[in-house]
Symmetry: C2
Subunit: 392 residues, 2 copies
Amino acid sequence: MTVNQIDPPARLLMGPGPITADPRVLRAMSAQLVGQYDPAMTGYMAEVQELYRGVFQTRNDATLLVDGTARAGIEAAFVSLLAPGEKVLVPIFGRFGQLLRDVAERCGAEVHVIEREWGSVFTVGEIEAALREVKPKLLAIVHGDTSTTVAQPLEELAALAAKHGALLYTDVTASLGGNTFLADAWGVDAATAGLQKCLAGPAGSSPITLSERAVEVIRSRGATIRSNYFDLAQILDYWGPTRHNHHTEATTMLYGARECARILLEEGVENAVDRHRVHGAAMASGLVAMGLTLFGDQSVRMNNIVAVRIPDGVEPDGIRATLLADYGIEIGTSFGPMHGKVWRVGVMGYNARKDAVLTTLAALEQVLRRAGVSVPQGAAVDAALDALQTEG
Amino acid sequence: MTVNQIDPPARLLMGPGPITADPRVLRAMSAQLVGQYDPAMTGYMAEVQELYRGVFQTRNDATLLVDGTARAGIEAAFVSLLAPGEKVLVPIFGRFGQLLRDVAERCGAEVHVIEREWGSVFTVGEIEAALREVKPKLLAIVHGDTSTTVAQPLEELAALAAKHGALLYTDVTASLGGNTFLADAWGVDAATAGLQKCLAGPAGSSPITLSERAVEVIRSRGATIRSNYFDLAQILDYWGPTRHNHHTEATTMLYGARECARILLEEGVENAVDRHRVHGAAMASGLVAMGLTLFGDQSVRMNNIVAVRIPDGVEPDGIRATLLADYGIEIGTSFGPMHGKVWRVGVMGYNARKDAVLTTLAALEQVLRRAGVSVPQGAAVDAALDALQTEG
C-alpha cells in the first residue's frame, strides 16, 4: 500500500460536528512539543485552566482537560463521582442522554431514567418529581443534545438537585461556547465538553470543570475509583501544584484546546453566543423559506443546530452525498427515531458565519431542485439575509 | 489574563518522552478536518489500520487507535479483556509494570505480581513458574520500561502463556519503532503503544493490535465491559465495516498517528530500529567516555534510552535545569528507587540523529564541567563519533 502525505478534500462542515476547525487552532497544533514538566508546559497548563474558567463561566479551581474525546470527559466525571451501587437520575431527551445512561451503568451505578419524546425537553416539575422519588446522588443531564437540536434549560436544576441532596452534572459538549452556560451562577457541580462543536477545534480533548463539592466527593473516593486513566483525583494532582505524574499530557491537543478558548475569550463569550444565535436563526429562516419544516421545539432550540424534516420523495442520504460530492458541503444525518426523517444542519464555531450559511442554503436549493423538489428560487438566501440584517 | 498565540521555546527533547516531534507529523496535524463519515475519513481510518499492521508487524484485522494517551490503550485492553475476578499475572520490573498492576486492579481483576529489581529483567523460568502457580487468564508485561531503560525479551513468552492457557498482553509504548517487535512472529495477543516515543509524534493517540483470540474474548464480554469509552467491542465496530457510531474520532490525532506510521514505514521498520540502536549506542559510549556509569543490565537495554548514574557532589535537578535553560536541551529525571540516582537520556524518534547525540554530549560536558565535575575534554563526542563510524 502506498500512502501519501495527508491532503484532505476541501469541505464546509455544516453537520452536528466535527465542524471545520478554526485555522488558528490548527496552526497552534503545529507548534513543536516541549517536555512534560518544562516550565513552558506547566505554564500552558495553568493558562488552559484559567482560559476554561472563562469559557465555563466559573471560578472552580478544578478546571482542566481530560485527554480523550467528549465521551472521555463524561466517563471521567461519572467513574470518579459515582461509587458502584450509588443512584443517578438521568432524564433522557435524545441520544446523548442514552449515552449518559450507558456510561453510568458501566460504572456500576444504579441508574434511574425518565424519558421525553425527542424534540422536547423536561419541565422543572417532571425533574423534581423524579428527584423526590429516586433520591439520587447525582442528577446527570445533557444540556444541548445534537440528536434532537434542543437544549434543556438548566437555570433551576442545580438548586433543585441541591434541595434533594444531589449533585448536578451536565454534558455541555454540543452547547458550550454557542449557548449561554453559567456554571457558577447556575450552581452546576460538574460539566464536561469537547472541542469539535462551538469551540472550533478537533475532537480529542475534553474540558471539564468541577465544583468544590464535586471535588470533595472525588477526593473521598481515592483508590476505589474504578479507572486509572479517568481517576480525576489523580488527574487533579497532575494539574495541581504537586504535579504528581499521571499520564503524559497530550501536548498537541492541549495546544489546540488552549487556542480554542483563547480565541473564544478574545471574541467574548457573550459575543460568540450571539453570533451563534444570529447565524443559527438565519439558517432556520432560510430552511423555512425554502418550504421545509423544522423539527423540535423551536422555543428551546440550541443556537448552533437546526433539524429539518426531509421532504417527501427524496432519498435522504442521496441528497447529502450530492451536497458533499458536488459542493463539498456536509450536513448531518440523524439517529434512532429521527433516522431518515430529518437532516441536521450545524451553524457552529468557525462556521457560524454569513458566507457559510448562505453557501449552504444556495447549494441545498440547487441539490433539492435537481432532485425534483419544488423550491422557490432564492427564497432561502433572501430570508437568511433578511434575518441577518434584522438581527446582525 | 492576557494569553498570546502559542510560541513554545526551542527545545531538543532528549528525555524519556515526549521527544521533539518530527516536523512532518506536526504539519500533517495542521490539515483541515473532514466529517466523521466522510469517505475521505473512513479511507484514512483504513489506511491507519494497514499502516499500524506494518508497525506492529502483524496481519491482525483488529489494529486501530484508542483516542487517548498510551495509558488509555492499556486500560482499554485490560477493561475489555478482563472480567472482574479474573486472574492476571503482572511481572513488574519498573514503574510501568506498577501501572499495569494498578490498571488491572481498578478493572476488578485478581492481580498477581512477581517483581524484579529495577534494571534487570525476568528469566523465562521465573515467568513460567509464576504462570504455573497463578494460572492467569492474562499475562501482562511491559516490553521496554523507560523507568529502568531495560526491555523484557518477549520471544518465548507467548508460547509459554499459551501453554498455560493465558493470553499475552504487552505494553510497547516505549519500545515500538525503535526496538524489534514482531507481534505475529512472537504470538502476542494484545499490544498497545503511544506516539510520543520512537514514533516521533505527540501523546494523545494509542495504537493497539489484537489477535483473533483476543477479539473473541472481547466479543464474548459484550455489554459487561465496565467502560463505555474503552469498550473495544464497540470501538472495533466503529472501525469495522459497519462503522457503528461510538465516539467522534479525534481527527487531528489520527492525522498525526497516520503520519507517524507513514514515515516509519517509508524508512522501513528495520532501518528505524537500526538507527535507534546505532545512535543509542553512540550516546551510551559518549556518556561512558565522559567518565559516567551506566545503570541497568546493558545486555537488555532498550535501543532508545540510556540511564546514567548521577556523579557525586552535583545537584541532579540543577544540572538538568541548567541544560534546559542554557542549551534548550531536556534530559530526564527518574522515578521511585531511581530518583536522584540516575538521569535518563532518550535517543528516540526524530531525535535518534547524529547531531542530537553530539549536541547533547557537548552541552552536558560543559554543564558538568562548570558544576565542578572533572570531565575529559571532548572524550564523549570522540567516543560517540567513533561509535557512529564503526556502526553507521
